[in-house]
Symmetry: C2
Subunit: 423 residues, 2 copies
Amino acid sequence: MRMLFIGFGVGVAVGAGGCYLYLSAVKQPELRRGGRAITLDENHHALKFGAPETEIVRQYEGYIAAYDYRTRNPKWVLEHITRDSSSGDAKRDGSEFFPDPGVEPRFSAKLSDFRGSGYDRGHMAPAADFKSSQKAMDETFSLVNISPQVGAGFNRDYWARFERFVKELTYASSDVYVMTGPLWLPTRSQLEDEDGGGGGGGGKGKGGKWTLVHDWIGKPPGLVAVPTHYYKVVVADPRGGGEPGKAPARDAVSPLAKGAVAVGAFVMPNQPMDARSPLSAYVVPLEDLEQVAGTRFFPDLLGEPRRRAALDTAAAGWRQEGLAQLKPFERLSMKQALAALPAPGSGAADVETSTVSTAKGASSSSSSPSRPAPPPAPKTPEGAGVVHICDVNACQLPRVDWYLPNGSGAGNGGSGGKRRAAA
Amino acid sequence: MRMLFIGFGVGVAVGAGGCYLYLSAVKQPELRRGGRAITLDENHHALKFGAPETEIVRQYEGYIAAYDYRTRNPKWVLEHITRDSSSGDAKRDGSEFFPDPGVEPRFSAKLSDFRGSGYDRGHMAPAADFKSSQKAMDETFSLVNISPQVGAGFNRDYWARFERFVKELTYASSDVYVMTGPLWLPTRSQLEDEDGGGGGGGGKGKGGKWTLVHDWIGKPPGLVAVPTHYYKVVVADPRGGGEPGKAPARDAVSPLAKGAVAVGAFVMPNQPMDARSPLSAYVVPLEDLEQVAGTRFFPDLLGEPRRRAALDTAAAGWRQEGLAQLKPFERLSMKQALAALPAPGSGAADVETSTVSTAKGASSSSSSPSRPAPPPAPKTPEGAGVVHICDVNACQLPRVDWYLPNGSGAGNGGSGGKRRAAA
């Protein structure tokens, strides 16, 4: 029996020691920032007085946000919603915007920065996505989830309809994952001035140089950057089983193909938008968006180049179809606003391609925002295991009056709460 | 004996299991980004397809750099140099700029982005800081350490002298830590146009709105942002012992007070600078710089507000002294370039204060870049355990011709290598 105890004691020591050595060797201090691990060797001699800090990640019931200390904006906000989590009785009437307690005040936007700025406190993860939990809804009012958005014509209108469009994906899919974030996109000057060259300044290429111009609000040195654009990347995953809800009564909505995950990426300018613009005109290729946002999206799903390529082929087709529905002047101003994310071919003439017959058909009724469209052909090449979201629902936005009790597709959001998202 | 084996076996299992459970409970996956740990709960339901990635940290022999995927610029570069590490025979003649193998090409600047752009490939951690090791010097040519800098009048001139100034701190101190990084600072429009208010756009406050304008180089969608300014935060730590080298023969340089760590923060515009401008005019308060850079510097040293406050009191004094030496027009354009980092009081008239008598004395010889100045009075309040770097060496830049064999303070850098940093 004494032997048993001795053996046990030695065994504990060996086991614990071995485990510790193993874990110490394997588990180096790592910064896991996505698919790839970033190893920061804390013993590097330059780190004597600590490593710099430039952002913070905050986690809430419904979403995760990375908050950037320089722009005082969310860097990205990632949410996961289901039909259950986005349905319920939670009300935003009592929700109050609040500076996040996890962010040092000197690195955070302040409530006062927005007052009188002319901009809305725009949600990245929308409050209405979390109607099942008052706590989760209240948490979307943290300033780590807020960015200065143009109100009339954008946050309170086109963007709100777009948010509703995303929420309605839970009708066709068990799980919906959404990345939302700000962008600062430069535009290209049309000046063709040649610069002999030599020292200093310039930065000109053929066809004019790229320049970014954007406003800041608040007071120095703690100013808050106003984004020029916003993006959303949407993943609708039907594989979670359960009973998907009834799709809203719009013509082009079809259930997701069995087992196929649907993905879409969209970019919109932070300015008043024409309610009649088709959503498909704002479809962008994932590859281009990742490059201008400087962000890898959903690395475990979209890290595979072949999958991204299939989706981007579809995105190019949908975007051309959307652009073809715009009037020439709208198409031109849109080309300028999204110059850093050039459409395939990118000349205005390029929309006259293979997709044009479909596009022309659709554009014949383009003056009505809620026109019934013929179901367009899917555009995602088969075999990649993913489809573009527009293949599923034709990227049809809800009607402009969807939030009214009599609007079509009002679902459980008919209280007009979304409309007040502008607050 | 059989009992011993059984006991040992059970013991190993218990020990290893217990160790594993302990480590699992205690060692949550953490993002250590400086003084504060950011816990990312990898089990959060929104992370099903992985966490987004927006930057990467790269470590080299002499420096650590965080590289930002959106601006395709270093976010910060942190180096630690000593007199030994910065002296030696390493040559930059064979060093070649290279895209960092740790950064995905689509998120990195390319060599071709700089060609014909009109901008230098400017080092953040200077090659000349690592003359003791050819490997360490070569590593500074990674693009994670490079940002587009104006060449003539800046990277090849004033900024190069400033880099030399920093390197010479190793003469007075055993260890020098340097943070260098880009800034994008907005300026304030002078338009006082009142906007009735209401929907959309605007962002105006009293005295005009804040707007950022800057260029980008390269090709979309992978453009490279051109910073409007650069900063350096310098920590000179004399506590490492050893024999500090002889200080260069300039009047105002005094050895560091025993045990006191010297700290300074500087911001310069990415444009040609007047060689006669005193370095002290570019001294900025740490607090303001941290806020516009969105970065906590040296958190384990400067995290204490009292220490920062003492340094910032000194910084205000030195900056006023520097500004007083500028001609009125220079002072005005500098005020505009650094509007987001307002000088204390900030009106041009405010330089007429208590420091003016010293300043006036110094400015009488301001036309010569290498004028001998009377040793100015220290400005850091006592008791905080730190002093401002200008208290130590009066923030006297090396002569414009320091790199020539006959230049004063040429030290071991007389080969003109720095001059070619412009490449």
